[in-house]
């Protein structure tokens, strides 16, 4: 089926990759099973580049490109992994296996299978920064054993999380944040292809709001186009305002300031348990939303940031994210300039 999202339908081919250095480097690896390390910030197209490469290299990319999202492997429970259709086939009947063994098993199995077309296949380890170190050590050998038939591609936003032996086994392909102009050019191409009316201000607004995240820019453009029918500064602004949890977070801030802590806590609870946030991300979002609130004067916002530093520290020491965020909000609502009333 055709994907509904432009980020999928307009995924680039290898020859169309916008960053010439990346394109050149990847094109040179075609035909040779070479381990690659694609590194760069979120949403710049690392996975898209890896997929483009696989389409260029393999006759049957569906069979010979094996994608493993490592964050999904290490961030979830064993049961969730086992029930994931992507891994199910490898793990049927392996209920007693430890988690580290599970991914090891999935990898070794998929690395040792013969490619369907051509001489080798590609294993894409997405979000590789999530791979635990002990497993990275185990991976060294797997990479060497199957070097003839398997090309490993790592994508990561934090290359420092990978151990040196992995770095040395890979050909690095750094990807930089696309410039606003590059994003605008990309949006223009897509809008032309989709026959969407747009103006330059609109594109510029979307591109700069995305702050180098191409995925976000394309999603914003599509959402605006679907909801408003055209992409102008006004429509894009309105669309962006409705998206995401900004409203909920702003409501939590307002409730906290009014002393309605139970309401604030309920909102945090929803965001943390259902919204996919962890404590640190939610803290960053809280601050961002606070900065955008015109109802708050700058002193209040500054004070919240001052308290947030201490709360962030406690967040990393403690276990219960919600508790520390509530601590921050109650202290802020109490008018304190230090997180704690007593030193």
């Amino acid at each position: 089926m055709d994907a509904p999202l432009w980020i999928d339908t307009y995924a680039p081919e290898l020859a169309d990759l916008p960053q010439p250095e990346v394109r050149d480097r990847l094109q040179r690896t075609v035909g040779e099973p070479m381990n690659l390390l694609l590194q760069g910030p979120p949403g710049v197209g690392k996975t898209a580049a890896a997929r483009a490469l696989a389409r260029a290299v393999h006759e049957d990319p569906d069979a010979d490109l094996i994608e493993l999202n490592v964050a999904d492997f290490f961030g979830r429970s064993k049961k969730e992994i086992k029930n994931d259709p992507r891994f199910e086939g490898f793990l049927a009947g392996k209920s007693r296996m430890a988690k580290a063994d599970m991914i090891n098993h999935v990898l070794t199995e998929s690395a040792s299978h013969a490619p369907v077309s051509g001489a080798f296949k590609t294993i894409l380890l997405d979000n590789a920064e999530a791979i635990r170190e002990d497993f990275q050590q185990a991976l060294r050998r797997v990479m060497e054993q199957h070097h003839r038939t398997t090309q490993f591609v790592f994508t990561t936003r934090q290359p420092t999380k990978l151990i040196a032996p992995i770095h040395s086994r890979c050909f690095p392909v750094p990807m930089r944040t696309p410039t606003t102009d590059e994003i605008i050019a990309r949006l223009e191409t897509i809008c032309d292809a989709e026959d969407i009316a747009y103006d330059t201000d609109g594109l510029e607004f979307v591109a700069s709001a995305a702050d180098g995240n191409l995925r976000e820019a394309i999603l914003t453009a599509q959402t605006t186009a679907e909801q408003e029918g055209e992409l102008t500064m006004q429509t894009a602004y309105e669309t962006l305002g409705d998206i995401g949890d900004d409203e909920a977070i702003a409501a939590a801030l307002t409730a906290a300031r009014a002393g309605e802590f139970s309401d604030a806590r309920g909102t945090l609870d929803d965001l943390l348990s259902d919204g996919g946030y962890d404590g640190k991300t939610l803290l960053t979002e809280l601050l961002r939303v606070a900065r955008s609130q015109s109802a708050l004067d700058s002193d209040e916002i500054a004070r919240l940031h001052k308290l947030a530093g201490a709360a962030d520290h406690e967040l990393s020491e403690g276990l219960d994210d919600k508790l520390h965020l509530m601590h921050l909000l109650t202290a802020w609502a109490d008018g304190r300039t230090e997180l704690r009333a007593m030193a």
Partner: protein, 497 residues
């Protein structure tokens, strides 16, 4: 001076106080043991007379007793040696003629008493629990298991035995026992004194007798003043504890209460944090969060270092600190809620995010945070419909998932018709492009138009069948397509199908 609890231990069942029903059931069990041959479990709080009842019963029936309690090592081996032999053999003292075997005369029985049967565990008692279960099933002598917690015992053991509950002895039943003892010890008493003793030992008859003895030590009369109401430590329930910390007690008292609650500091912290906003004013809450944050940091250190002695600081902060954060005391009844100890999961959300993640090559977290909000906005209340149908078809979503993304009600006609249309679209696409159904990225928007005009699409009534046949069509198509390639296996497989 002898221990009064021993001196006045009942010698016959009729003297066992406060649990008439249990006593009668126990007697009945012994009388009919020849017929059923089952073991019995006596369970209940400490000090209500379980052990006394067992010994009294043996006395009444004229049975020998063999006792094995927690002070003995109770490995499988030991249990087998002592109780097993006792349970299967004749007694020395009893009439050997009866042989002790089932059907022999009841006079020659041996009553095997296994005290603290709920406390057989650890390496010290290796194999003990299963040995007891086996013993209980095979024994040819009556066995009494005594326990405080019925459900601490294995299910196999529980099922193999009859069970009799000994309830806490009401203070109304305790007072006559105390009065009786005072008479026999020739001690003058004030009724109030006995009442105080009975009340402070709520339910615990043995404790009451101990307290009476302590109060009467060296005197020949006891008054209410003589009774030191020290009270034994008993476990405190959670809700009274929350009341104590959040409403009533001082920091010191709250800390003492925390020691009496049978919960770990991390659970206590969660309980307090979950319920404090229902009681505290904003100012108080801000102070309470100061100390709760401290408690949680200590819990973090426990987790990091595995040094559990830090738990005490977590308890200090959580219990005493939260109590101290309060300005005064308050009353009334509050509905306390159970905190969420494990992050819950929303299966629909997980599944939707997983499908998006798979399609776009994202982690599930990224899909949830960076893509899902846009997708929801794009298809808000299923508008535009065409896109919503395309999305439903592409990710193969069901009604619940569509409702989750778009915010439209799950059982509305709108959502149902979208899912049905998407189903058609999928079947259509698979039929029309069977060879390339999984090639991806080759179909264009024009496809959706074709669906509406095509009468071959399955009716809405038999969706499941439609999808079933769609899968078939797909497999065949795939295999045919593959045959063109050099994949011999696949072609061979096709011949068999």
């Amino acid at each position: 001076m002898a221990d009064w609890t021993e001196r006045y231990r009942p010698t016959t069942l009729s003297e066992v106080r406060g649990n008439d029903k249990a006593r009668d059931a126990f007697h009945e069990w012994a009388e009919t043991w020849d017929d059923h041959g089952q073991a019995v479990i006596l369970y209940g709080s400490p000090g209500v007379g379980k052990t006394s009842a067992a010994h009294a019963l043996a006395n009444d029936m004229g049975w020998e007793t063999v006792e094995l309690n927690a002070s003995d090592q109770r490995t499988a081996d030991v249990i087998e040696r002592f109780a097993g032999r006792a349970a299967n053999n004749a007694t020395l003292a009893g009439s050997a003629g009866g042989g002790g075997a089932r059907g022999g005369d009841t006079e020659s029985r041996q009553l095997v008493i296994l005290d603290e049967a709920d406390n057989i565990h650890g390496t010290y008692d290796r194999g003990g629990a299963s040995a007891i279960t086996k013993l209980v099933k095979d024994a040819s002598q009556p066995i009494v298991l005594i326990a405080n917690e019925f459900y601490e015992m294995s299910r196999g053991l529980r099922n193999a035995c009859e069970d009799i509950e000994f309830r806490d002895v009401s203070s109304r039943s305790i007072v006559p026992v105390l009065r009786d003892i005072c008479r026999r010890e020739d001690i003058e008493y004030e009724q109030d004194a006995l009442d105080v003793i009975a009340d402070t030992n709520d339910g615990d008859l043995r404790g009451a007798i101990k307290d009476l003895q302590a109060a009467a030590e060296g005197r020949d009369a006891i008054t209410a003043e003589d009774v030191v109401t020290s009270g034994r430590d008993r476990a405190m329930d959670l809700f009274p504890f929350l009341d104590a910390v959040l409403k009533e007690e001082s920091a010191e008292e709250a800390l003492q209460s925390a020691y009496r609650v049978d919960e770990t500091p991390d659970d206590l912290t969660k309980w307090l944090e979950n319920n404090l906003l229902a009681v505290y004013e904003p100012k108080e809450a801000a102070r309470a969060y100061d100390v709760l944050a401290n408690a949680d940091r200590w819990l973090g250190r426990v987790r990091a270092t595995q040094n559990y002695s830090y738990w005490r600081y977590a308890t200090d902060n959580a219990a005493a600190g939260v109590a101290a954060a309060r300005d005064g005391t308050s009353g009334g009844w509050t509905r306390y809620n159970r905190p969420q100890f494990w992050p819950g999961s929303n299966e629909t959300a997980d599944e939707v995010c997983q499908r998006i993640a798979e399609r776009s090559g994202l982690s599930i977290d990224t899909a949830r945070r960076a893509v899902l909000p846009f997708l929801s906005a794009m298809t808000h209340h299923c508008k535009p419909r065409e896109l919503t149908v395309a999305m439903t078809a592409a990710y193969d979503l069901d009604e619940a998932a569509v409702s989750f993304i778009t915010g439209s009600g799950e059982s509305t006609n709108k959502v149902e018709s979208i899912v049905a249309d998407a189903e058609e679209l999928r079947a259509e696409a698979i039929e029309a492009h069977s060879g390339g159904a999984f090639a991806g990225g080759t179909l264009d928007g024009g496809d959706a138009d074709g669906t509406d005009s095509d009468p071959a699409a399955s009716s809405r009534g038999d969706d499941s069948e439609a999808s079933g046949s769609a899968v078939d069509a797909d497999t065949d198509g795939d295999a045919t397509a593959e045959t063109a390639d050099d994949d011999e296996n696949q072609a061979g497989l096709n011949d068999f199908m």
